[in-house]
């Protein structure tokens, strides 16, 4: 908890943490929503923000506030699944490539390169189209997780390469401890902070991807996500019809969410890299 207290002193982290807290509260509130997000025409349509509909209602007859709670919950869970999956893959590939080196390193990096090379958006659209009907949150998370690890595997590998040069790794290797214990005892403490920072980065990538897929109408459009909310708002011409509250809610949520995630990953990575911290501290 001490690190959290220290981190909170950093203004940027404070703002990011506040936004994340609000979003978490929103997701929890979704369990108490009086309306079923899958039903349409449950409330009068096209009401501007007023009591009892704080954020107004949509042309499909849904309350925007409660819809947002579901959207945020689903988007966050989906992006968490996606970034967890991609972290696991990135660590495994990054670690083995970095630690083993030689042939293994070349082949693993070759695989991750080929993932970077294939036009990603179109492959994901194809998979989404393929699974569309039966695509639930976990499915989408898995799909994005499968494609989100290539870049971070490379980052982890270069970190491991620089770590491997350090003496304490040589002593561990020479003292005959198994690769697994080296990996967990020696590398992990250094990697955890890096993994955490890239996790947040990957989460924002996953949510960004989900929004693009939803706007292209390739996802299962019934499940409430930030992307699908945007899709319905655009599809029902909320901009031209002047229902500004309908288009603004998902846009503002996604902007704040991205800013929070970005600031959090920047301040955490700065917190981890002492040199950056001193440089900032001195600026009294």
């Amino acid at each position: 908890m001490k690190t959290l207290r220290d981190l909170l002193r950093d203004g940027r982290f404070k703002f990011a943490f506040a936004v994340c807290l609000i979003l978490l509260i929103l997701s929890v509130m979704s369990f108490f929503s009086p309306y079923d997000p899958y039903r349409w025409n449950v409330v009068p349509r096209d009401l501007s923000p007023q009591w009892p509909h704080l954020f107004g209602t949509t042309s499909t007859g849904q309350d925007i506030f409660w819809l947002l709670t579901f959207a945020v919950r689903n988007s966050l869970t989906m992006s968490l699944i996606a970034s967890m999956v991609s972290r696991v893959i990135a660590i495994i590939i990054g670690l083995t490539a970095g630690h083993k080196g030689g042939k293994v390193d070349k082949t693993l990096m070759f695989i991750s390169d080929s993932f970077l090379i294939i036009p990603l958006l179109l492959i994901i659209i194809m998979f989404a189209v393929m699974v569309r009907g039966r695509m639930n949150l976990a499915g989408l998370g898995l799909l994005l997780g499968m494609f989100g690890w290539a870049w971070d595997a490379r980052v982890i590998r270069s970190q491991v390469l620089s770590l491997r040069e350090r003496d304490f790794i040589y002593t561990a290797v020479l003292s005959g401890s198994s690769t697994l214990s080296i990996v967990f005892k020696e590398y992990m403490p250094f990697l955890i902070p890096l993994v955490f920072a890239t996790l947040i980065g990957n989460m924002s990538w996953a949510i960004g991807m989900e929004i693009v897929l939803a706007i292209l109408g390739v996802l299962n459009l019934e499940t409430p996500l930030i992307g699908t909310m945007l899709y319905w708002a655009i599809n029902y011409q909320s901009i031209l019809l002047g229902y500004w509250w309908w288009i603004l809610t998902p846009v503002m949520t996604s902007v704040f969410l991205f800013i929070a995630l970005y600031l959090m990953s920047v301040s955490i990575s700065e917190y981890l890299d002492p040199r950056m911290r001193i440089q900032r501290v001195g600026r009294a």
Binding site: R39, W40, N41, S59, V129, R132, G133, R134, G217, V218, N220, L221, E222, W232, I234, N235, Y236, Q237, I239, L240, L241, G242
Partner: protein
């Protein structure tokens, strides 16, 4: 210094220049949106090679068909043909009389040689359009310059319908152009030569617009002869990426006719004061589209092969709430497997209404039930009034706008029917269980575009049946066509029955897919219109009778048609719900006298071939 001045002036000129090039004055141009989006091969006009979208001006401006369906007024227009088709007694020989004095746009006379050459060429080269259908042709020859005789291998009383234009037909190609070409498949046919009133002026290499110009000798084309001089000198068919763009273009008076979603229409009506919809007030949408939407059961899958289960599911639908969920009530209900355009209303509905009222279902324990509810239209009108829309009071108007009637909302009767067939309700959850005890779950397969009527049908049905106590999931897929043909679905939102001609009472096109000859198991390709693999010996008899009635014997066709319709309603292989609500928006800034609901001289869509017949009626407003 002078060069700089030149650049600046040019820059300024570009910025201020209107959307059109200088030599194409806006007030003499009619601009329409291209429904099928960007053209993949802008420079290629050869519609006979393979298959191509033709609504960029090819079918609606450049080429005339032999006959053309006009579903607004319910007639068949003789374009290149002079009169309806003539068959011999056993329908193995078809004679076509051609219109005299028609010239191709490059000044060559249109004669029977063109028709003969077209049929022979398409039959010979595989991959050309209609190549498969023309294998039936044994021999084609011309009696004189304006008469063609086609001998068939078997007897087919509807062979000429390949040449009847209903958004697509076998079009006659210019013999004097195609005979010089060694490979018709890769021939680009650019610039194209046509029999219609317009000829190509230019096209966008990026595929976003095609510009057509009125032929100087327009009076030597069927359109000119039948309806006079088309008003606009130029017609521009342009693709707009999104609905928003169409709304903005119309607001800047850079678009005269747009295809929009319902929401896009509301945006245009709110933002552009000179804009109007097909119907001036609620429900604005076009209800004379020649096809009816609804649900389609898969007869090869338990329990949907049982007509009583299908009737139970029909009675479990409250059609007013259903239409509310789908299009907020702005639809025309139809209880029969036909769209209730004014033509079909007169030909069929007036004669079947009495039978419908007397229709009875046997509930098993000696009880009978009359499912038909003639007040459904009024109930829907009440709902619309409650929603705050301006609804007419005259019953005749209501019948035309909201539909004459539908089936009662009778969940109790549906329950009796299901129990009769061994279904039970789960005592704890109240959800329905199949006869074998497992919970009844339905997956409805539908398209992916939520604005499409079939998506709205799928969604509304799932809401209705969820209320009735069945677990329903809506599965959207872009491979609707593939899954449908292979029968990999329980219920789909494809049309309940194939679309009729629209301009002719003949229902052969609706009944033929049900022919037991074409029945295939799941996994193989079922004919369009009967993905549900439903067959019935009585229907086979109706089809056979229809094959023997000549195309021009309308009375005979109607009596046989009625018989088929009654059978479809008794068996209910698909549930018809409401007409396809087409949404069209016009801008009356440069042009007026559009074929709206109050002035139905022609059908409203600009992507239909009939667009060229609409243009002579338009009047310029004289605005510069």
């Amino acid at each position: 210094m002078r060069k700089v001045l030149l650049v600046v002036s040019l820059l300024f000129a570009c910025l201020v220049m209107a959307q059109l090039a200088a030599d194409v004055p806006r007030n003499e141009t009619f601009i329409a949106n291209q429904l099928t989006g960007r053209v993949g091969t802008p420079g290629n006009f050869n519609l006979w090679a393979g298959w191509r979208w033709q609504d960029r001006g090819i079918q609606n401006l450049l080429l005339e068909p032999l006959w053309c369906v006009e579903y607004a007024t319910g007639e068949i227009i003789n374009a290149l043909a002079a009169e309806p088709p003539i068959y011999n007694s056993d329908f193995t020989e078809l004679t076509i009389k051609l219109r005299k004095g028609v010239y191709w746009s490059d000044g060559v006379l249109f004669t029977a040689d063109d028709v003969v050459y077209t049929i022979e060429l398409l039959k010979r080269v595989p991959g050309m359009s209609y190549n498969a259908q023309l294998q039936e042709v044994a021999e084609v020859k011309k009696l004189d310059d304006y008469t063609v005789v086609v001998k068939l291998t078997g007897s087919n009383s509807r062979f000429h319908t390949y040449l009847l234009d209903r958004w697509g037909a076998l079009r006659i190609l210019p013999k004097h152009v195609f005979e010089k070409v060694e490979d018709p498949m890769t021939f680009e046919f650019n610039p194209p030569v046509g029999t219609g009133p317009y000829v190509l002026k230019g096209y966008d290499p990026g595929g976003y617009w095609t510009l057509w110009e009125l032929r100087k000798d327009w009076e030597r084309t069927p359109t000119g002869m039948l309806y006079g001089k088309p008003a606009p000198k130029y017609v521009l068919i342009q693709t707009f990426g999104t609905a928003e763009q169409q709304v903005l273009a119309m607001a800047r008076h850079e678009l005269d006719a747009a295809d929009l979603t319902m929401e896009g229409l509301r945006a245009v009506l709110q933002r552009v004061n000179t804009a109007r919809a097909w119907r001036r007030d609620f429900p604005w949408s076009v209800n004379i589209d020649p096809c009816v939407t609804g649900l389609h059961f898969n007869n090869a899958v338990e329990p949907y092969n049982n007509p009583e289960v299908r009737w139970a599911l029909t009675l479990a639908i409250d059609i007013v709430e259903y239409a509310g969920n789908a299009f907020d009530g702005a639809v025309t209900l139809s209880p029969i497997h036909l769209p209730l355009t004014s033509a079909y209303y007169d030909w069929y509905f007036t004669r079947i209404e009495e039978w419908l009222k007397s229709l009875e279902l046997d509930l098993g324990d000696g009880q009978k039930f009359k499912p038909y509810d003639p007040t459904a239209g009024e109930r829907l009108a009440e709902y619309a009034k409650k929603r705050g829309y301006k609804v007419p009071t005259d019953p005749g108007e209501i019948k035309k706008i909201f539909g004459p009637g539908w089936y009662k909302y009778a969940p109790d009767v549906a329950e009796k029917l299901l129990i009769k067939n061994g279904f039970k309700r789960d005592p704890k959850t109240g959800k329905w269980l199949l006869p074998n005890g497992k919970p009844w779950t339905i997956t409805i397969l539908t398209t992916t575009n939520p604005a499409h009527p079939s998506y709205r049908n799928g969604f509304a049905a799932s809401q209705a049946w969820k209320k009735f106590g069945i677990d329903v999931t809506v599965m959207t897929s872009d491979a609707l066509a593939t899954l449908g043909q292979r029968g990999e679905f329980e219920i789909t939102t494809d049309w309940p029955a194939a679309e009729p001609w629209g301009g002719h009472p003949d229902l052969f096109r609706v009944f033929d897919p049900y022919n037991s000859e074409y029945l295939v198991p799941i996994g193989e390709n079922a004919p369009w219109g009967n993905y549900g693999r439903w067959t019935n010996p009585e229907m086979d008899a109706v089809i056979a009778k229809l094959k023997d009635t000549d195309w021009n014997d309308t009375e005979g066709i109607v009596t046989v048609g009625l018989e088929g319709l009654k059978l479809l309603i008794k068996e209910m292989p698909g549930i018809p719900t409401f007409n396809y609500p087409g949404v069209v928006a016009w801008d009356e800034y440069y042009w007026t006298n559009y074929p709206g609901a109050e002035n139905m001289y022609c059908q409203p869509y600009h992507h239909w071939p009939n667009f060229k017949y609409m243009l002579p009626f338009l009047k310029p407003t004289g605005k510069k």
